[in-house]
Protein backbone atom coordinates (compact mmCIF):
# COMPACT_ATOMS: atom_id res chain seq x y z
CA UNK A 1 0.00 0.00 0.00
CA UNK A 2 2.95 2.27 -0.72
CA UNK A 3 1.03 5.19 -2.15
CA UNK A 4 -2.06 5.23 0.02
CA UNK A 5 -2.98 8.05 2.34
CA UNK A 6 -3.35 7.30 6.05
CA UNK A 7 -7.16 7.55 5.77
CA UNK A 8 -7.29 5.13 2.83
CA UNK A 9 -4.95 2.71 4.61
CA UNK A 10 -7.15 2.67 7.71
CA UNK A 11 -10.44 2.32 5.81
CA UNK A 12 -9.05 -0.34 3.45
CA UNK A 13 -7.76 -2.33 6.39
CA UNK A 14 -11.14 -2.12 8.11
CA UNK A 15 -13.02 -3.38 5.04
CA UNK A 16 -10.31 -5.90 4.04
CA UNK A 17 -10.25 -4.47 0.51
CA UNK A 18 -8.66 -1.56 -1.33
CA UNK A 19 -10.90 1.51 -1.34
CA UNK A 20 -10.56 4.68 -3.42
CA UNK A 21 -11.40 8.30 -2.61
CA UNK A 22 -14.94 9.20 -3.67
CA UNK A 23 -16.41 5.76 -3.01
CA UNK A 24 -19.30 5.58 -0.54
CA UNK A 25 -18.67 2.81 1.99
CA UNK A 26 -20.44 1.46 5.06
CA UNK A 27 -17.80 1.09 7.76
CA UNK A 28 -17.88 -0.95 10.95
CA UNK A 29 -17.46 1.43 13.90
CA UNK A 30 -14.99 0.61 16.69
CA UNK A 31 -16.14 3.34 19.09
CA UNK A 32 -19.12 5.67 19.06
CA UNK A 33 -19.67 8.48 21.51
CA UNK A 34 -21.80 11.46 22.46
CA UNK A 35 -21.50 14.19 25.04
CA UNK A 36 -24.13 15.85 27.19
CA UNK A 37 -25.00 18.39 24.47
CA UNK A 38 -25.52 15.84 21.70
CA UNK A 39 -26.37 12.73 23.76
CA UNK A 40 -30.04 13.38 24.59
CA UNK A 41 -30.95 13.81 20.90
CA UNK A 42 -28.96 10.69 20.01
CA UNK A 43 -30.80 8.75 22.72
CA UNK A 44 -34.14 9.83 21.18
CA UNK A 45 -32.86 8.46 17.85
CA UNK A 46 -31.72 5.16 19.39
CA UNK A 47 -35.06 4.70 21.17
CA UNK A 48 -36.94 5.49 17.97
CA UNK A 49 -34.93 2.85 16.09
CA UNK A 50 -35.88 0.20 18.71
CA UNK A 51 -32.82 -1.89 17.84
CA UNK A 52 -30.93 -1.38 21.10
CA UNK A 53 -27.14 -0.96 20.90
CA UNK A 54 -25.14 -3.21 18.59
CA UNK A 55 -22.03 -3.24 20.83
CA UNK A 56 -22.87 -1.52 24.14
CA UNK A 57 -19.28 -1.75 25.40
CA UNK A 58 -18.14 0.41 22.45
CA UNK A 59 -20.72 3.13 23.15
CA UNK A 60 -19.58 6.00 25.36
CA UNK A 61 -21.60 8.85 26.86
CA UNK A 62 -19.36 11.64 28.16
CA UNK A 63 -20.68 14.30 30.50
CA UNK A 64 -18.33 17.23 29.99
CA UNK A 65 -19.97 20.30 28.43
CA UNK A 66 -21.98 21.59 31.38
CA UNK A 67 -20.35 20.11 34.47
CA UNK A 68 -21.36 20.26 37.21
CA UNK A 69 -24.79 21.14 35.76
CA UNK A 70 -25.45 24.89 36.02
CA UNK A 71 -29.25 24.60 35.76
CA UNK A 72 -32.04 22.10 36.15
CA UNK A 73 -32.61 21.54 32.42
CA UNK A 74 -29.00 20.38 32.09
CA UNK A 75 -29.12 18.33 35.29
CA UNK A 76 -32.14 16.59 33.75
CA UNK A 77 -30.24 16.03 30.49
CA UNK A 78 -27.43 14.37 32.49
CA UNK A 79 -29.98 12.22 34.30
CA UNK A 80 -31.52 11.13 31.00
CA UNK A 81 -28.07 10.08 29.74
CA UNK A 82 -27.19 8.19 32.93
CA UNK A 83 -30.51 6.36 33.04
CA UNK A 84 -30.26 5.36 29.38
CA UNK A 85 -26.66 4.18 29.71
CA UNK A 86 -27.48 2.12 32.79
CA UNK A 87 -30.39 0.41 31.05
CA UNK A 88 -28.49 -0.26 27.81
CA UNK A 89 -25.13 -1.09 29.46
CA UNK A 90 -23.23 1.70 27.71
CA UNK A 91 -20.43 3.60 29.43
CA UNK A 92 -20.94 6.93 31.20
CA UNK A 93 -17.69 8.86 31.69
CA UNK A 94 -17.43 12.05 33.74
CA UNK A 95 -13.68 12.38 34.42
CA UNK A 96 -12.85 14.86 31.69
CA UNK A 97 -13.54 16.21 28.22
CA UNK A 98 -14.67 13.50 25.78
CA UNK A 99 -11.67 13.93 23.46
CA UNK A 100 -9.18 13.85 26.32
CA UNK A 101 -10.83 10.72 27.73
CA UNK A 102 -10.73 9.08 24.29
CA UNK A 103 -6.97 9.64 23.94
CA UNK A 104 -6.22 8.65 27.54
CA UNK A 105 -8.39 5.54 27.73
CA UNK A 106 -9.71 4.26 24.42
CA UNK A 107 -8.55 5.49 20.99
CA UNK A 108 -5.97 3.30 19.24
CA UNK A 109 -4.31 3.13 15.81
CA UNK A 110 -6.61 1.92 12.99
CA UNK A 111 -9.79 2.60 15.00
CA UNK A 112 -12.88 4.00 13.29
CA UNK A 113 -14.35 6.49 15.76
CA UNK A 114 -17.72 8.22 15.37
CA UNK A 115 -18.06 11.08 17.83
CA UNK A 116 -21.05 13.39 18.20
CA UNK A 117 -18.75 16.34 18.75
CA UNK A 118 -16.88 18.27 16.09
CA UNK A 119 -13.48 18.02 17.81
CA UNK A 120 -13.47 14.21 17.58
CA UNK A 121 -10.45 14.44 15.18
CA UNK A 122 -8.29 14.95 18.31
CA UNK A 123 -7.84 11.16 18.48
CA UNK A 124 -6.53 11.14 14.91
CA UNK A 125 -3.09 11.97 16.29
CA UNK A 126 -3.00 8.34 17.46
CA UNK A 127 -3.29 7.06 13.87
CA UNK A 128 -7.01 6.41 13.76
CA UNK A 129 -9.93 7.68 11.70
CA UNK A 130 -11.92 9.78 14.15
CA UNK A 131 -14.53 12.16 12.77
CA UNK A 132 -17.26 14.37 14.16
CA UNK A 133 -20.92 13.68 13.38
CA UNK A 134 -24.35 14.81 14.49
CA UNK A 135 -26.58 13.05 16.99
CA UNK A 136 -28.49 10.99 14.41
CA UNK A 137 -25.30 9.60 12.86
CA UNK A 138 -24.08 8.73 16.36
CA UNK A 139 -27.42 7.08 17.15
CA UNK A 140 -27.22 5.10 13.94
CA UNK A 141 -23.60 4.10 14.66
CA UNK A 142 -24.53 2.89 18.13
CA UNK A 143 -27.63 1.02 16.98
CA UNK A 144 -26.26 -0.54 13.78
CA UNK A 145 -22.54 -0.65 14.61
CA UNK A 146 -21.76 1.05 11.32
CA UNK A 147 -21.55 4.40 9.55
CA UNK A 148 -21.64 5.44 5.89
CA UNK A 149 -18.96 7.77 4.63
CA UNK A 150 -17.50 8.92 1.37
CA UNK A 151 -13.86 7.81 1.32
CA UNK A 152 -12.08 11.16 1.58
CA UNK A 153 -9.16 12.65 -0.29
CA UNK A 154 -6.31 13.85 1.88
CA UNK A 155 -4.08 16.89 1.95
CA UNK A 156 -0.52 16.18 3.10
CA UNK A 157 1.32 18.53 5.45
CA UNK A 158 5.03 17.81 5.48
CA UNK A 159 6.65 19.14 8.62
CA UNK A 160 10.38 19.73 8.82
CA UNK A 161 12.75 21.33 11.32
CA UNK A 162 12.03 22.32 14.91
CA UNK A 163 9.90 24.97 16.63
CA UNK A 164 11.75 27.84 18.25
CA UNK A 165 11.41 28.66 21.92
CA UNK A 166 8.08 30.35 22.73
CA UNK A 167 6.39 28.86 19.64
CA UNK A 168 4.03 25.91 19.94
CA UNK A 169 1.92 23.43 17.97
CA UNK A 170 -1.03 25.80 18.41
CA UNK A 171 0.85 28.39 16.35
CA UNK A 172 1.45 25.74 13.67
CA UNK A 173 -2.22 24.82 13.29
CA UNK A 174 -3.35 28.47 13.50
CA UNK A 175 -0.88 29.35 10.76
CA UNK A 176 -2.16 26.47 8.60
CA UNK A 177 -5.82 27.48 9.10
CA UNK A 178 -4.92 31.09 8.33
CA UNK A 179 -3.16 29.97 5.14
CA UNK A 180 -5.74 27.52 3.74
CA UNK A 181 -8.87 29.16 5.20
CA UNK A 182 -11.86 27.91 7.15
CA UNK A 183 -13.01 25.70 4.29
CA UNK A 184 -9.56 24.94 2.90
CA UNK A 185 -9.81 21.25 3.76
CA UNK A 186 -13.58 20.84 3.41
CA UNK A 187 -14.61 17.16 2.95
CA UNK A 188 -10.90 16.21 3.05
CA UNK A 189 -8.52 14.78 5.63
CA UNK A 190 -5.46 16.69 6.82
CA UNK A 191 -2.51 14.31 7.25
CA UNK A 192 0.79 15.22 8.90
CA UNK A 193 4.13 13.60 8.19
CA UNK A 194 7.82 14.32 7.68
CA UNK A 195 11.04 14.57 9.66
CA UNK A 196 9.69 17.42 11.77
CA UNK A 197 7.28 15.04 13.51
CA UNK A 198 10.09 13.87 15.76
CA UNK A 199 10.05 17.38 17.23
CA UNK A 200 6.27 17.47 17.78
CA UNK A 201 5.50 15.54 20.98
CA UNK A 202 2.27 13.60 21.34
CA UNK A 203 0.35 16.19 23.37
CA UNK A 204 1.21 18.84 20.77
CA UNK A 205 -0.05 16.58 18.00
CA UNK A 206 -3.43 16.39 19.74
CA UNK A 207 -3.65 20.19 19.57
CA UNK A 208 -3.06 20.04 15.82
CA UNK A 209 -5.51 17.20 15.05
CA UNK A 210 -8.10 18.81 17.36
CA UNK A 211 -8.25 21.95 15.22
CA UNK A 212 -8.31 20.36 11.75
CA UNK A 213 -12.11 20.76 11.80
CA UNK A 214 -11.56 24.53 11.85
CA UNK A 215 -10.25 24.24 8.28
CA UNK A 216 -13.35 22.19 7.42
CA UNK A 217 -11.52 18.84 7.46
CA UNK A 218 -13.28 15.53 8.01
CA UNK A 219 -10.44 14.66 10.36
CA UNK A 220 -6.70 15.04 10.93
CA UNK A 221 -4.43 11.99 11.08
CA UNK A 222 -0.83 11.44 12.15
CA UNK A 223 1.21 8.29 11.53
CA UNK A 224 1.34 5.83 14.44
CA UNK A 225 5.05 6.05 15.29
CA UNK A 226 7.26 5.65 18.37
CA UNK A 227 5.58 8.67 20.02
CA UNK A 228 2.20 6.97 19.75
CA UNK A 229 3.71 3.77 21.12
CA UNK A 230 5.13 5.65 24.12
CA UNK A 231 1.85 7.49 24.73
CA UNK A 232 -0.18 4.27 24.73
CA UNK A 233 2.37 2.61 26.97
CA UNK A 234 2.19 5.53 29.44
CA UNK A 235 -1.61 5.07 29.54
CA UNK A 236 -1.11 1.36 30.34
CA UNK A 237 -2.31 0.39 26.85
CA UNK A 238 0.87 -0.92 25.15
CA UNK A 239 -1.09 -3.71 23.47
CA UNK A 240 -3.21 -1.19 21.56
CA UNK A 241 -0.21 -0.08 19.46
CA UNK A 242 0.04 -0.91 15.76
CA UNK A 243 2.35 1.02 13.45
CA UNK A 244 0.90 3.18 10.66
CA UNK A 245 3.25 4.83 8.21
CA UNK A 246 2.68 7.87 5.96
CA UNK A 247 3.95 8.02 2.36
CA UNK A 248 4.88 11.34 0.84
CA UNK A 249 3.89 10.25 -2.66
CA UNK A 250 0.30 9.54 -1.58
CA UNK A 251 -0.77 13.18 -1.74
CA UNK A 252 -2.09 15.08 -4.76
CA UNK A 253 -2.14 18.24 -2.64
CA UNK A 254 0.75 18.90 -0.33
CA UNK A 255 1.98 21.75 1.86
CA UNK A 256 5.41 22.09 3.43
CA UNK A 257 5.73 23.61 6.87
CA UNK A 258 9.19 24.59 8.10
CA UNK A 259 8.76 24.57 11.86
CA UNK A 260 11.72 26.91 12.45
CA UNK A 261 9.87 29.62 10.50
CA UNK A 262 6.63 29.47 12.52
CA UNK A 263 6.06 32.43 14.84
CA UNK A 264 3.41 33.01 17.54
CA UNK A 265 0.03 33.62 15.87
CA UNK A 266 -3.36 34.81 17.07
CA UNK A 267 -6.80 34.21 15.52
CA UNK A 268 -8.79 37.45 15.72
CA UNK A 269 -12.56 37.89 16.11
CA UNK A 270 -14.82 36.40 14.76
CA UNK A 271 -13.21 33.72 12.55
CA UNK A 272 -10.64 31.05 13.37
CA UNK A 273 -9.08 31.66 9.95
CA UNK A 274 -8.60 35.36 10.73
CA UNK A 275 -5.00 34.66 11.78
CA UNK A 276 -2.32 37.31 12.29
CA UNK A 277 1.32 37.11 13.32
CA UNK A 278 1.59 38.28 16.89
CA UNK A 279 3.39 41.52 16.09
CA UNK A 280 0.31 42.71 14.18
CA UNK A 281 -1.99 42.40 17.21
CA UNK A 282 0.39 42.84 20.16
CA UNK A 283 -0.91 45.47 22.57
CA UNK A 284 -4.63 44.73 22.07
CA UNK A 285 -6.22 45.07 25.54
CA UNK A 286 -7.59 41.78 26.96
CA UNK A 287 -9.92 41.39 29.97
CA UNK A 288 -10.14 37.61 30.31
CA UNK A 289 -7.61 34.87 29.53
CA UNK A 290 -8.61 31.19 29.29
CA UNK A 291 -5.98 28.44 29.31
CA UNK A 292 -7.14 24.87 28.82
CA UNK A 293 -10.01 23.02 27.02
CA UNK A 294 -9.70 20.03 24.67
CA UNK A 295 -7.29 22.00 22.49
CA UNK A 296 -4.71 23.05 25.10
CA UNK A 297 -5.75 21.59 28.46
CA UNK A 298 -3.06 18.92 28.82
CA UNK A 299 -0.19 18.91 31.31
CA UNK A 300 2.42 20.05 28.78
CA UNK A 301 0.20 23.05 27.95
CA UNK A 302 0.04 24.08 31.60
CA UNK A 303 3.79 23.50 31.99
CA UNK A 304 4.45 25.76 28.99
CA UNK A 305 2.14 28.46 30.38
CA UNK A 306 3.61 28.08 33.86
CA UNK A 307 7.13 28.63 32.61
CA UNK A 308 5.98 32.20 31.92
CA UNK A 309 3.48 32.63 34.77
CA UNK A 310 5.85 31.40 37.50
CA UNK A 311 7.72 34.70 37.49
CA UNK A 312 4.58 36.85 37.76
CA UNK A 313 3.69 38.64 41.00
CA UNK A 314 0.19 39.48 39.85
CA UNK A 315 -2.10 39.20 36.86
CA UNK A 316 -3.57 42.05 34.84
CA UNK A 317 -6.29 39.88 33.20
CA UNK A 318 -8.87 37.59 34.82
CA UNK A 319 -7.29 34.15 34.32
CA UNK A 320 -9.44 31.01 33.95
CA UNK A 321 -7.78 27.59 33.90
CA UNK A 322 -9.67 24.57 32.49
CA UNK A 323 -7.81 21.25 32.70
CA UNK A 324 -8.92 18.63 30.16
CA UNK A 325 -9.28 15.78 32.65
CA UNK A 326 -8.98 14.82 36.30
CA UNK A 327 -5.72 13.04 35.44
CA UNK A 328 -4.39 16.37 34.19
CA UNK A 329 -5.46 18.00 37.48
CA UNK A 330 -3.54 15.34 39.41
CA UNK A 331 -0.41 16.05 37.37
CA UNK A 332 -0.81 19.80 37.96
CA UNK A 333 -1.00 19.14 41.69
CA UNK A 334 2.03 16.81 41.63
CA UNK A 335 4.14 19.37 39.78
CA UNK A 336 3.12 22.22 42.08
CA UNK A 337 1.50 24.10 39.20
CA UNK A 338 -1.99 23.92 40.67
CA UNK A 339 -1.17 25.68 43.95
CA UNK A 340 1.07 28.29 42.34
CA UNK A 341 -1.60 29.22 39.80
CA UNK A 342 -4.20 29.26 42.55
CA UNK A 343 -2.16 31.61 44.72
CA UNK A 344 -1.55 33.84 41.73
CA UNK A 345 -5.32 34.35 41.58
CA UNK A 346 -6.24 32.10 38.66
CA UNK A 347 -9.74 30.60 38.75
CA UNK A 348 -9.19 26.87 38.31
CA UNK A 349 -12.33 25.17 36.98
CA UNK A 350 -13.29 21.51 37.20
CA UNK A 351 -12.21 19.51 34.12
CA UNK A 352 -14.64 20.02 31.25
CA UNK A 353 -15.43 22.32 28.37
CA UNK A 354 -15.73 25.26 30.74
CA UNK A 355 -16.36 28.65 29.12
CA UNK A 356 -15.36 27.55 25.60
CA UNK A 357 -18.89 26.83 24.40
CA UNK A 358 -20.64 29.73 26.12
CA UNK A 359 -22.77 27.72 28.52
CA UNK A 360 -21.33 28.73 31.90
CA UNK A 361 -18.13 29.33 33.93
CA UNK A 362 -16.86 32.49 32.28
CA UNK A 363 -19.52 34.13 30.09
CA UNK A 364 -18.18 37.45 28.82
CA UNK A 365 -19.81 40.83 29.49
CA UNK A 366 -20.88 43.22 26.72
CA UNK A 367 -17.77 44.54 25.02
CA UNK A 368 -15.42 42.25 26.95
CA UNK A 369 -12.40 40.85 25.18
CA UNK A 370 -11.00 37.38 25.85
CA UNK A 371 -7.89 35.58 24.70
CA UNK A 372 -8.41 31.82 24.85
CA UNK A 373 -6.42 28.69 24.04
CA UNK A 374 -9.66 27.02 22.87
CA UNK A 375 -10.50 26.36 19.25
CA UNK A 376 -13.32 28.74 18.27
CA UNK A 377 -13.89 32.48 18.35
CA UNK A 378 -17.19 32.78 16.46
CA UNK A 379 -19.46 35.65 17.46
CA UNK A 380 -21.29 34.65 20.63
CA UNK A 381 -19.07 31.62 21.19
CA UNK A 382 -18.35 32.49 24.81
CA UNK A 383 -21.99 33.20 25.59
CA UNK A 384 -22.37 36.82 24.48
CA UNK A 385 -22.61 38.06 20.88
CA UNK A 386 -21.47 41.50 22.12
CA UNK A 387 -18.05 40.14 23.16
CA UNK A 388 -14.80 39.36 21.34
CA UNK A 389 -12.55 36.30 21.41
CA UNK A 390 -8.96 35.90 20.23
CA UNK A 391 -7.27 32.45 20.09
CA UNK A 392 -3.64 31.69 20.88
CA UNK A 393 -1.13 29.24 22.32
CA UNK A 394 -0.84 28.67 26.09
CA UNK A 395 2.44 30.63 26.07
CA UNK A 396 0.88 33.68 24.43
CA UNK A 397 -2.12 33.37 26.78
CA UNK A 398 0.18 33.26 29.83
CA UNK A 399 2.14 36.34 28.75
CA UNK A 400 -1.14 38.15 28.01
CA UNK A 401 -2.61 37.24 31.42
CA UNK A 402 0.33 39.00 33.06
CA UNK A 403 0.20 42.20 30.99
CA UNK A 404 -3.53 42.49 30.19
CA UNK A 405 -2.74 43.02 26.52
CA UNK A 406 -1.80 40.60 23.76
CA UNK A 407 1.88 39.91 24.39
CA UNK A 408 4.54 37.99 22.49
CA UNK A 409 5.61 35.18 24.86
CA UNK A 410 9.16 35.28 23.48
CA UNK A 411 9.61 38.59 25.31
CA UNK A 412 9.06 36.80 28.62
CA UNK A 413 11.25 33.72 28.15
Amino acid sequence: MGKKTLAVQIISEKLSREVSPGEIVVLPVDRAFCQDGTGPLAIDGILSLSMGLKNPSNCYFFIDHAVPPPRKELANAHKKIKNFAREYKAKVIQEGICHQMMIEKFAAPFDIIVGADSHTPTSGALGCFAAGFGSTDAASAMATGSVWIKVPRSIGFKLSGKLKRGVSAKDVILKIIGDIGSSGAIYKVMEFFGGGLKNIPMESRFTISNMTIEAGAKTGIFPADEFVKEWLSAQGRSDDFRPLEAFEDAYEEKHEIILDDVVPCVACPHEVSNVERIEKVAGEPIDVVVIGTCTNGRISDFEAAFEILKNAKKLAAYLIIVPASQTVVEKMVEKGIFSRLNSLGAKILPPGCGPCCGVHEGILADGERALSTANRNFRGRMGNPQSFVWLSSPQTAAATAITGKITDPREML
Partner: protein, 162 residues
Protein backbone atom coordinates in the same frame (compact mmCIF):
# COMPACT_ATOMS: atom_id res chain seq x y z
CA UNK B 1 -40.78 20.25 -5.96
CA UNK B 2 -39.61 22.97 -3.59
CA UNK B 3 -40.35 26.63 -4.15
CA UNK B 4 -39.96 29.50 -1.71
CA UNK B 5 -38.78 32.93 -0.79
CA UNK B 6 -35.06 33.37 -0.24
CA UNK B 7 -33.41 34.44 3.02
CA UNK B 8 -29.87 35.41 2.10
CA UNK B 9 -26.86 34.76 4.37
CA UNK B 10 -23.14 35.23 3.80
CA UNK B 11 -20.05 33.02 4.20
CA UNK B 12 -19.03 30.95 7.23
CA UNK B 13 -22.36 30.99 9.08
CA UNK B 14 -21.41 28.75 12.00
CA UNK B 15 -23.71 26.51 14.03
CA UNK B 16 -22.90 28.91 16.90
CA UNK B 17 -24.67 31.66 14.92
CA UNK B 18 -27.53 29.32 13.95
CA UNK B 19 -27.99 27.82 17.41
CA UNK B 20 -26.10 29.87 20.05
CA UNK B 21 -24.47 28.15 23.02
CA UNK B 22 -26.23 30.49 25.45
CA UNK B 23 -29.46 28.60 24.68
CA UNK B 24 -27.83 25.26 25.50
CA UNK B 25 -30.42 24.60 28.21
CA UNK B 26 -33.18 24.70 25.56
CA UNK B 27 -31.77 21.77 23.60
CA UNK B 28 -34.30 19.50 25.29
CA UNK B 29 -37.09 21.81 24.08
CA UNK B 30 -36.63 22.27 20.34
CA UNK B 31 -39.86 24.31 19.96
CA UNK B 32 -38.43 26.95 22.28
CA UNK B 33 -34.94 26.69 20.78
CA UNK B 34 -36.39 27.24 17.28
CA UNK B 35 -37.50 30.73 18.37
CA UNK B 36 -33.77 31.60 18.36
CA UNK B 37 -32.91 30.10 14.96
CA UNK B 38 -30.04 31.99 13.32
CA UNK B 39 -30.40 34.67 16.00
CA UNK B 40 -26.74 35.72 15.99
CA UNK B 41 -26.62 35.96 12.18
CA UNK B 42 -29.96 37.79 11.80
CA UNK B 43 -31.86 38.59 15.00
CA UNK B 44 -35.16 39.01 13.11
CA UNK B 45 -35.01 35.73 11.15
CA UNK B 46 -37.20 33.60 13.43
CA UNK B 47 -39.94 36.23 13.36
CA UNK B 48 -40.03 36.80 9.60
CA UNK B 49 -39.46 33.26 8.27
CA UNK B 50 -42.51 31.60 6.71
CA UNK B 51 -43.24 27.98 5.98
CA UNK B 52 -41.62 26.88 2.72
CA UNK B 53 -38.99 29.63 2.64
CA UNK B 54 -35.46 28.80 1.48
CA UNK B 55 -32.10 29.74 2.98
CA UNK B 56 -29.42 30.75 0.47
CA UNK B 57 -25.92 31.19 1.89
CA UNK B 58 -22.33 31.58 0.78
CA UNK B 59 -19.37 29.34 1.52
CA UNK B 60 -19.03 26.86 4.40
CA UNK B 61 -22.58 27.13 5.76
CA UNK B 62 -23.03 25.35 9.10
CA UNK B 63 -19.35 25.29 10.03
CA UNK B 64 -18.17 24.59 13.56
CA UNK B 65 -19.94 22.58 16.22
CA UNK B 66 -21.61 19.28 15.30
CA UNK B 67 -24.84 20.25 17.12
CA UNK B 68 -27.60 18.70 15.02
CA UNK B 69 -30.02 21.05 16.77
CA UNK B 70 -28.85 23.71 14.29
CA UNK B 71 -30.22 21.78 11.29
CA UNK B 72 -33.31 20.73 13.24
CA UNK B 73 -34.37 24.23 14.27
CA UNK B 74 -33.84 25.48 10.71
CA UNK B 75 -36.23 22.76 9.56
CA UNK B 76 -38.66 23.47 12.41
CA UNK B 77 -38.69 27.16 11.56
CA UNK B 78 -40.33 26.21 8.25
CA UNK B 79 -37.36 26.25 5.89
CA UNK B 80 -37.87 23.77 3.03
CA UNK B 81 -34.32 23.67 1.65
CA UNK B 82 -30.88 25.12 2.33
CA UNK B 83 -28.82 26.22 -0.66
CA UNK B 84 -25.17 27.24 -0.25
CA UNK B 85 -22.01 27.63 -2.29
CA UNK B 86 -20.58 24.99 0.05
CA UNK B 87 -21.52 23.28 3.30
CA UNK B 88 -19.48 22.21 6.29
CA UNK B 89 -19.61 18.43 6.11
CA UNK B 90 -21.13 17.62 9.52
CA UNK B 91 -23.94 20.12 8.94
CA UNK B 92 -24.56 18.72 5.46
CA UNK B 93 -24.90 15.19 6.87
CA UNK B 94 -27.16 16.43 9.64
CA UNK B 95 -29.49 18.02 7.08
CA UNK B 96 -29.74 14.79 5.07
CA UNK B 97 -30.13 12.72 8.23
CA UNK B 98 -33.15 14.73 9.36
CA UNK B 99 -34.66 14.96 5.87
CA UNK B 100 -33.83 18.60 5.14
CA UNK B 101 -32.60 19.01 1.54
CA UNK B 102 -29.22 20.78 1.30
CA UNK B 103 -28.03 21.73 -2.18
CA UNK B 104 -24.69 23.11 -3.38
CA UNK B 105 -24.65 25.65 -6.22
CA UNK B 106 -22.80 28.98 -6.64
CA UNK B 107 -25.07 31.47 -4.86
CA UNK B 108 -23.57 34.91 -5.55
CA UNK B 109 -26.48 35.99 -7.79
CA UNK B 110 -29.18 35.34 -5.22
CA UNK B 111 -30.66 38.13 -3.09
CA UNK B 112 -33.08 38.38 -0.19
CA UNK B 113 -36.70 37.82 -1.22
CA UNK B 114 -35.88 36.23 -4.60
CA UNK B 115 -38.13 33.28 -5.37
CA UNK B 116 -36.18 30.05 -5.84
CA UNK B 117 -37.25 26.63 -7.04
CA UNK B 118 -35.27 23.50 -6.24
CA UNK B 119 -35.69 20.31 -8.23
CA UNK B 120 -33.90 17.49 -6.42
CA UNK B 121 -34.80 14.83 -8.96
CA UNK B 122 -33.38 16.59 -11.99
CA UNK B 123 -30.69 18.42 -10.04
CA UNK B 124 -31.27 22.12 -10.63
CA UNK B 125 -32.02 25.35 -8.78
CA UNK B 126 -33.97 28.05 -10.57
CA UNK B 127 -34.01 31.69 -9.52
CA UNK B 128 -37.51 32.64 -10.71
CA UNK B 129 -37.09 36.32 -9.88
CA UNK B 130 -33.92 36.73 -11.92
CA UNK B 131 -34.69 33.98 -14.38
CA UNK B 132 -31.62 31.78 -14.34
CA UNK B 133 -31.01 28.13 -13.66
CA UNK B 134 -28.04 26.35 -12.02
CA UNK B 135 -27.56 22.61 -12.05
CA UNK B 136 -25.96 20.47 -9.38
CA UNK B 137 -24.72 16.87 -9.52
CA UNK B 138 -27.43 14.39 -8.58
CA UNK B 139 -27.20 13.03 -5.06
CA UNK B 140 -25.88 9.46 -4.64
CA UNK B 141 -28.72 6.93 -4.53
CA UNK B 142 -28.31 6.33 -0.81
CA UNK B 143 -28.76 10.02 0.01
CA UNK B 144 -31.84 10.28 -2.22
CA UNK B 145 -33.38 7.33 -0.36
CA UNK B 146 -32.57 8.81 3.04
CA UNK B 147 -34.17 12.11 2.03
CA UNK B 148 -37.19 10.38 0.50
CA UNK B 149 -37.90 8.32 3.60
CA UNK B 150 -37.67 11.47 5.74
CA UNK B 151 -34.27 10.98 7.35
CA UNK B 152 -31.77 8.39 8.53
CA UNK B 153 -33.84 6.99 11.41
CA UNK B 154 -36.79 6.31 9.11
CA UNK B 155 -34.45 4.93 6.43
CA UNK B 156 -32.92 2.43 8.86
CA UNK B 157 -36.36 1.43 10.17
CA UNK B 158 -37.47 0.71 6.63
CA UNK B 159 -34.31 -1.08 5.50
CA UNK B 160 -33.42 -2.73 8.83
CA UNK B 161 -29.81 -1.66 8.29
CA UNK B 162 -27.68 1.24 7.14
Amino acid sequence: MIEGKVHRFGDNVSTDLICPGRFYHLRGNLQELAKHTLEDADASFAKKVEKGDIIVAGRNFGCGSSREHAARIIKMSGISCVIASSFARIFFRNCINIGLPAVEVPTKNFADADIAEVNLKDGFVENKTKNFRLSFPKFPEKIVKILETGGLVEYIKENKSL
